[in-house]
């Protein structure tokens, strides 16, 4: 049995590179990413899976990293905002956020962009209602959401045009 302070090794892929890191069993994924790997893009806010500020993708699907134990990503692929920012293929999405003024304080932005990527991966041409439904787990207190919806619509449109 693992003792409370005993570290367990988690081997996984993050943003395309393999890593191995020792964490305690109770360590949350968001803390392993932020404190262990210095990937500070994911933010802590509500700590109860409501706000989406800590959203990262695990095997392509969005999770709230505040409530996922770090050891659960063993052998999986994690994508953080740092991985998106370094990926030229994602420029359409990130440019759409910037050009539509869908960013204000920016605290929700990394999680918002990752949720939007996940949406467009599974539904490349979402309707406005589908965007609102899919994105409802990501809170933004600054923008009032309208410009984020517009950004996602523009990213989808531009992807369609190739």
């Amino acid at each position: 049995m693992v003792q409370a302070n005993e570290k367990i090794t988690v081997a996984f892929n993050v943003n395309g590179g393999d890593v191995e890191i020792g964490v305690t069993p109770e360590t949350a994924l968001v803390d392993m990413l932020r404190d262990g790997l210095l990937l500070k893009g994911a933010k802590r806010s509500c700590d109860m899976q409501v706000c989406g500020a800590c959203t990262v993708l695990v095997d392509g699907l969005p999770v709230s990293a505040c409530t996922v134990p770090a050891f659960e990503v063993r052998g999986k692929s994690v994508t953080t905002i740092e991985g998106i920012a370094a990926d030229d293929r994602m420029a359409g999405l990130t440019d759409a956020f910037i050009d539509n003024a869908a960013i204000q304080c920016g605290f929700c932005t990394p999680g918002m962009v990752l949720a939007a990527k996940s949406l467009l991966d599974c539904n490349p041409h979402p309707s406005e209602a589908e965007i609102k439904d899919y994105m409802r787990g990501n809170i933004c207190r600054c923008t009032g959401y309208k410009k984020i919806v517009e950004a996602i619509q523009e990213a989808a449109r531009k992807a369609l045009q190739g």
């Binding site: 304080c105 609102k132 409802r136």
Partner: protein
């Protein structure tokens, strides 16, 4: 300068912090790591009102890994209290606690887990006192006093002969309206790292007003301003919650005690127990003539400032300033009281007192219109203040006519051609309107420094906090415009009190107007220096030189600004510096009167009400933002949309609930804020650009207006749909359903 001549002003250029924020590399206070820092945990009071009989921190101090425990006993050789208007807040509770969650002690330890374990070991013995966690119970004659009394502040003003005027009115209306306690939910909870060293204090904090925090820390610890450094990284939302001083003194005192840097990163729950918006009860009495002429108004408001004053003084004043509405009354008597209660202290929140005041006065405007059988828009237009009117006597006259601004919103909404279509006999639709003007609380004290480098690029230094509003982009646009260089050649350095010059604060929609003028002046100062240098080079007069595109040109001959600077210094380098000072006596002459400007708020709503369930759906909302001149139009829209959405929250469902002083919903599950699904089907902002503001290019402040009129517009729409008048927020299905049921009886 005409509009066509602008290069970057008036364009929705990309925010200059875009890449930082989209890439995750933007550093917020929560990301700051200082070598050797300890981690802090607060020991909150479980009781809303109690005397502290004893505190025993010996077990906590004995825990391995604990560096220090701060209690009131450690607040020695320093000032013990802080606060913006009243210094009534102890750094940790002294002798008594006044709200549930008030820090009684704080622990610094090697890591957070140890700090949390130690916090559990701090033993506090209380003697419980009766708690009053709302206005009604705090105002009872036998209520247990929370401070010397439960009255924090009183304010009022009067003009005309109010009693005589009421006596001569055809009709008198009296209504009371309730506004709930609501929470900002800035997504980044209050976070602060302080390194207290023997001759200086270094602070990294999520503060809106770094220079006020610096002054407060200097006063508390007996240091000079130059010994205190306050750095504000990017801030994850504020909306007023991070105004003035919050957790910084506690963290500084804990760092002094621990002998090392200390980080306190609050949870959302802890931040919900740090600050909130004032709940309010407002009674308005209005005397009118049968033709709809407004004659006399008397208002009595109470605002609930919680356990400590925080910004309660100003909020008490502002609700009274804003409750008369945008109308001309010859007879006014207004009074307001700030009241202590055993609940989270209440501070600034986007338009202090504004939504509370407008909820009351603009709901009543429709009540009057209905009773007199006058169209609510016509009633407003009949009494609306005009350009140059002193809408509050003795204050700055209104900059521009309101009627055309109202019409822009009505046109966008399609008000005049509205065809009501009820989906069913019990699902009804209706429209509502509201408007107000709010006196900006902006103090005209800002300074800026512009450095112009020898390669033609420039660095702009501002004390404005980048809190999401896009101040850095707007300041860069103003500087680029005045320096005649591309936007890409500008870098903006934000809030670090060691390196940027003084700015009073970031709030009250003040930055574009006031810091904007400071940056404009500093940039013009540099440009004039460049023209002088160019005049020497070309052996002519400065006014003969044309400055554009980073070059000085005379008779077809050009030289880059950078080359001119290098030539002046006689080598490869050198730089110019420009400064901008904004005071009440600014050379423009536009800042002498209070307020610096009036912020305009206008909103129109269409709702659908299900009478069987009380559910209200906001189908459409059209808001207005009146920036005078939009320096970055999309950012202006974004401010307005965000403000309106926050108001949709306090109108429809947001409410902090207290029972016997216990805070029942201090988390994001039980306290719901708007999500994507609350976005109205149509959600528009009308930009009003009449160039009538005192800021650069005729600009003035926006960002608060959007939050002011949503609630009354929605309630007026519900009345229009159902004939039922709601006087208490939020407009939850239960409250709406009960009101509908009551109306049937």
């Amino acid at each position: 300068m005409t509009q066509q001549e602008f290069n970057t002003v008036g364009k929705s250029v990309r925010r200059i912090d875009s890449f930082d924020k989209i890439s995750g590399r933007a550093v917020y206070s929560v990301d700051v790591v200082v070598p050797g820092m300890a981690y802090a945990k607060l020991v909150p009071s479980p009781l809303p009102h109690a005397l502290i009989k004893s505190i025993d921190a010996s077990k906590a101090r004995a825990l391995p890994g604990v560096y220090a425990v701060l209690t009131a006993a450690e607040l020695v050789n320093m000032e013990t209290h802080y606060g913006s208007d009243k210094k009534d807040r102890p750094i940790v509770a002294m002798n008594k606690v006044r709200f549930q969650g008030e820090p009684v002690a704080a622990v610094a330890a090697v890591d957070l887990a140890t700090a949390e374990a130690a916090a559990e070991l701090v033993e506090v013995e209380y003697e419980e006192l009766p708690a009053a966690s709302d206005l009604t119970s705090a105002l009872l004659p036998d209520a247990e006093p929370i401070h010397d009394s439960n009255y924090c502040h009183e304010y009022g003003y009067e003009w005309g002969d109010v009693d005589a005027a009421f006596a001569g009115c055809d009709r008198i209306f009296e209504d009371t309206f309730l506004f709930p306690m609501v929470y900002h939910y800035a997504m980044e909870p209050h976070t602060c790292v302080v390194s207290y060293e023997h001759d200086r204090i270094r602070t990294w904090t999520s503060a809106q007003h770094p220079f006020l925090v610096r002054a407060e820390l200097a006063r508390i610890f007996g240091m000079q301003l130059d010994q205190v450094q306050v750095v504000v990284p990017y801030v994850g939302g504020g909306y007023g919650s991070k105004s003035y001083t919050k957790i910084e003194p506690l963290v500084a005192a804990l760092s002094r005690e621990a002998g090392r840097p200390v980080r306190l990163a609050q949870s959302v729950e802890e931040s919900m127990k740090t600050v909130r918006r004032h709940a309010a009860r407002a009674t308005i009495r209005t005397g009118v003539m049968n033709d709809g002429t407004f004659v006399a108004r008397e208002c009595l408001s109470y605002v609930d400032t919680g356990g400590y004053t925080d910004n309660g003084v100003r909020v008490t004043e502002r609700i009274s300033d804003r409750i008369v509405g945008p109308y001309i009354f010859d007879n006014v008597r207004v009074k307001s009281y700030g009241i202590y209660t055993n609940s989270t202290p209440a501070g600034s929140f986007r338009s202090i007192g504004g939504p509370q005041a407008s909820w009351a006065c603009e709901s009543q405007t429709d009540i009057i219109a209905e009773a007199l059988g006058i169209d609510p828009i016509q009633l407003r237009l009949k009494n609306l203040a005009k350009k140059g009117d002193e809408v509050r006597r003795g204050k700055r006259p209104l900059e521009g006519d309101l009627a055309p601004k109202l019409q822009m919103v009505l046109d966008k909404f399609g008000w005049d051609n509205y065809q009501r279509e009820d989906p069913s006999p019990t699902v009804k639709r209706g429209i509502g309107f509201a408007c107000n003007v709010t006196n900006s609380g902006a103090s005209p004290t800002s300074t800026s420094l512009v450095r112009f480098h020898a390669d033609g690029s420039s660095t702009v230094y501002i004390g404005t906090t980048e809190i999401g509003q896009g101040s850095r982009s707007v300041m860069a646009q103003i500087a680029a415009e005045e320096l005649r260089i591309p936007l890409a050649s500008i870098k903006v350095i934000g809030s670090d009190t060691d390196s940027v010059p003084y700015d009073r604060s970031t709030g009250s929609s003040r930055s574009t107007t006031l810091m904007g003028l400071a940056v404009q002046d500093a940039a013009v100062d540099v440009r004039e220096q460049l023209l002088e240098i160019a005049a020497k080079h070309f052996e002519t007069f400065a006014d003969q030189i044309e400055a554009a595109d980073g070059k000085a040109t005379f008779k077809g001959e050009s030289m880059t600004f950078g080359a001119l600077i290098r030539e002046m210094f006689g080598g490869s380098g050198g730089e110019l510096m420009g400064r901008g000072y904004v005071t009440q006596n600014h050379a423009s002459g536009r800042l002498t009167q209070d307020p610096v400007f009036w912020e305009v708020s206008i909103g129109a709503a269409e709702v659908e009400v299900d009478e069987d369930t009380g559910t209200v759906k906001l189908l459409r909302y059209v808001s207005a933002s009146d920036p005078g001149k939009a320096i970055n139009p999309k950012q202006v829209e974004g401010q307005d949309e965000g403000a309106a959405m926050q108001a949709i929250g306090h109108s429809m469902f947001e409410e902090m609930l207290f029972e016997d002083g216990q805070f029942l919903n201090p988390n994001l599950v039980d306290y719901r804020v708007p999500t994507f699904e609350d976005l109205p089907g149509e959600f528009e902002t009308v930009l009003i650009e009449f160039g009538d503001g005192p800021g650069p290019y005729g600009s003035k402040g926006v960002g608060e207006g959007g939050i002011v009129c949503v609630a009354p517009a929605i309630a007026n729409a519900i009345f229009n749909a159902t004939g039922v008048r709601l006087r208490e927020l939020p407009l939850t299905p239960e409250r709406v359903w009960r009101a509908i049921e009551k109306s049937k009886q």
